[in-house]
């Protein structure tokens, strides 16, 4: 009997992102300040939130999570997170993030994942976000989105892989 392939569900970034986890007017102009604002968007209790922030800061010590072109994707796994989650931010002024191209960062996608997740979607999600923001047209749209809902809608339309 011929073996039938199981249908593969496309990866959608908006499964892990909600409009309330998007902040288009980040106030901080420092890396630690922006990380804190991003982590504060996630639905976590204060202590786990502080521990997640600590992990993201440690990751930055290892090397910048900016991929250039004004984008940073702070990310990592932590036991305080029970499912994969994304928070987004935008800073019109730009924040120094030790980028390889030397450009300040305006767009931020923070990704947090538990040590082990069903479906093992952490790396594919990270890769999909990188792919999404490398697209100049998408970046322009994200930079001009009027509100979190509009920003989310762009990610909904463009952030699908599979």
């Amino acid at each position: 009997m011929a073996k039938r392939d199981a249908p593969v569900r496309p990866l959608k970034l908006t499964e892990f992102l909600r409009p309330q986890h998007i902040k288009l007017k980040l106030r901080s102009n420092s890396r630690d300040g922006v990380l804190e604002e991003l982590v504060n968007l996630l639905p976590l209790e204060p202590r786990p939130r502080a521990l997640l922030l600590d992990m993201l800061k440690q990751r930055e010590k290892l090397g910048s999570t900016s991929i250039g072109k004004g984008v940073a994707i702070p990310h990592g796994r932590s036991v305080v997170v029970s499912r994969l989650m994304i928070a987004c931010g935008r800073a019109d002024e730009g924040v120094d993030w030790d980028s390889a191209d030397g450009k300040p960062v305006n767009l931020f996608f923070a990704i947090a994942a538990p040590p082990i997740e069903v479906g093992n979607l952490y790396h594919p999600t990270l890769a999909r976000v990188v792919e999404l923001v490398r697209d100049t047209a998408v970046r322009k749209r994200l930079l001009s989105a009027a509100d979190p809902e509009a920003f989310w809608q762009i990610v909904e339309e463009e952030g699908v892989a599979g």
């Binding site: 209790e45 204060p46 202590r47 786990p48 521990l51 600590d54 992990m55 440690q58 990751r59 010590k61 290892l62 090397g63 910048s64 999570t65 991929i67 250039g68 994707i73 990592g76 796994r77 932590s78 036991v79 305080v80 029970s82 030790d98 390889a100 040590p115 082990i116 790396h123 990270l126 890769a127 990188v130």
Partner: protein, 117 residues
């Protein structure tokens, strides 16, 4: 969550971070992220380890070696590492400051209770 639980979580997250970024040709570098200053993290790891009781640390190391993660959250009286239902006396409450972090009686991962559990 007591101080030792927080230190164990920090250590576990740090070990995960180092594991994720240590392989050659790893996903991180392939995607364009920098991975270059491991020495700083090694120093942080040493500081955290020095602040944890030796007995707890050796339980952490054994569980890490065996499972690739040493901690497991407790959810509704169940160890989320092995999904074993914990004995009632253990399952109900978190442990208090100064107490030693308990291990799951089934898988030996160190248990922690997230706030609100």
């Amino acid at each position: 969550m007591n101080k030792e639980a927080e230190l164990l979580i920090k250590l576990n997250d740090l070990e995960l971070l180092m594991k994720e970024t240590e392989d050659p040709g790893l996903v991180e570098e392939g995607l364009g992220f920098k991975v270059e200053k491991r020495e700083e993290l090694l120093a942080v790891r040493q500081r955290i380890r020095a602040a944890i009781r030796p007995e707890t640390l050796s339980r952490f190391d054994r569980a890490w070696k065996r499972y690739g993660r040493a901690l497991a959250p407790v959810d509704n009286g169940v160890c989320c590492g092995c999904f074993g239902r914990l004995p009632t006396a253990m399952a109900q409450t978190s442990y208090h400051p100064g107490e030693e972090a308990p291990s799951c009686p089934f898988c030996a991962r160190i248990l922690y209770w997230a706030p609100g559990d």
